[in-house]
């Protein structure tokens, strides 16, 4: 049984789009006030948990990677700009991240696979994706006090660059598929 939980824990680590969103959101949260960080983390965890449970009843999320990349790109740009963002926007972004990662972490419903094992795996994913977010948030929060947060903005630029290129590749593929 424990292997199912462990596999759930590993899931966010093996999906680059999930990692990209978690990293970008963490960097952005680290640039905010402690109160905003606490509220946003709570919203993220609740949204993630809800979305993971919804994967049991909802159909597969179409263009999950595309949506995640758009979100990572937006978060990366906000990290670079380091603007004063209001609480509502940070909460909306955290909620979107939780929902998109959760819905994209669907487990195929194989015949004979008990519901307990699926829920255990989803629990692992929820726990791991939540802990993963707290790590870049903490690092970003402390790095922001160092050299005016230069390092955080540079990493934000890396996330933006990576997301933009793959987003272009995906959109190009979609356009080509629709034309043919």
């Amino acid at each position: 049984m424990s292997s199912f939980f462990w596999q759930g824990c590993l899931h966010p680590l093996i999906v680059p789009a999930h990692l990209m969103v978690i990293l970008a959101l963490g960097l952005l949260l680290g640039q905010q006030t402690p109160r905003t960080i606490r509220t946003s983390l709570t919203v993220y965890v609740v949204s993630l948990g809800g979305a993971l449970l919804l994967t049991r009843v909802l159909p597969r999320l179409g263009q999950g990677e595309l949506s995640l990349l758009v979100l990572a790109l937006s978060l990366g740009v906000l990290v670079i700009l380091k603007l004063k963002i209001n609480l509502a926007l940070v909460i909306t972004l955290s909620m979107s991240a939780g929902i998109l990662i959760g819905l994209d972490s669907r487990i195929a419903n194989l015949p004979g696979l008990s519901a307990n094992k699926i829920y255990l795996q989803l629990l692992g994913t929820a726990l791991s994706a939540s802990l993963l977010l707290s790590l870049p948030t903490l690092i970003s929060f402390y790095l922001n006090k160092l050299l005016d947060g230069i390092a955080v903005r540079v990493i934000g630029a890396w996330v933006t660059a990576g997301s933009l290129m793959v987003l272009a590749l995906l959109l190009h593929g979609l356009l080509q598929a629709s034309n043919s």
């Binding site: 424990s2 596999q7 972490s105 195929a108 540079v154 630029a157 660059a161 290129m165 272009a168």
Partner: protein, 197 residues
């Protein structure tokens, strides 16, 4: 006989623990894609020279160039990558990359301190050529997102190497070292442009 049953029992137990559910994402190709992207800029000496030069130049110019140039470069490089992915023709990619090493290296060796906007525009225009070359490779990658993450991180680390070299200018001997590296970068660019390297 009893031992055989015992062994069989262990094997069955092992298989029970090894079974797993099927995920939509298996992670296959992610590590390979990341490593392939990470090593891509390192194999091209023309890329390495220019990336290091961006870092040194940023450190030479001080704040805010030290962070602005390493932020401008990957973002504009991504735009160049988009042009490469879309297959929009851009002439002189390889000469452009070589010229970037010559110009940036010369600025360092001659200790020229251009205004921030000039340095940013120069770095941004060269980034287009570097990004185009990477972007053209992206569609062939096993996992494009892991590939792009790998090469963007690798590029950033090369910038950091450049910043570390540039930070040596605090000491008189360090200034000489940084300018020498700038000279080597400019010569590398000339080598690539003339086809010697």
């Amino acid at each position: 006989m009893h031992n055989s049953y015992k062994k069989l029992g262990w094997i069955i137990t092992l298989f029970i623990f090894m079974q797993s559910a099927a995920w939509a994402h298996t992670g296959a190709g992610a590590i390979g894609g990341f490593m392939s992207g990470f090593t891509h800029p390192l194999y091209g000496w023309d890329h390495v020279a220019a990336m290091v030069a961006v870092g040194i130049l940023g450190a030479f110019l001080g704040r805010p160039a030290i962070w602005l140039l390493p932020v401008v470069f990957p973002v504009v490089m991504a735009l160049g990558g988009v042009l490469g992915i879309l297959g929009i023709p851009l002439p002189g990619i390889e000469p452009g990359i070589a010229i970037s090493s010559i110009v940036l290296g010369s600025l360092i060796v001659l200790a020229v301190r251009p205004p921030l906007w000039v340095a940013a525009v120069l770095v941004a225009s060269f980034a287009i050529f570097h990004g185009y070359a990477h972007g053209a490779e992206l569609p062939n990658a096993a996992n494009p997102l892991a590939y792009s993450a790998g090469f963007v991180i690798s590029t950033g680390l090369l910038h950091l190497c450049g910043i570390a070299i540039g930070e040596l200018i605090r000491w008189p001997w360090g200034k000489a070292v940084a300018r020498t590296v700038g000279g080597v970068i400019a010569l590398t660019g000339i080598g690539f442009l003339t086809g010697v390297l």
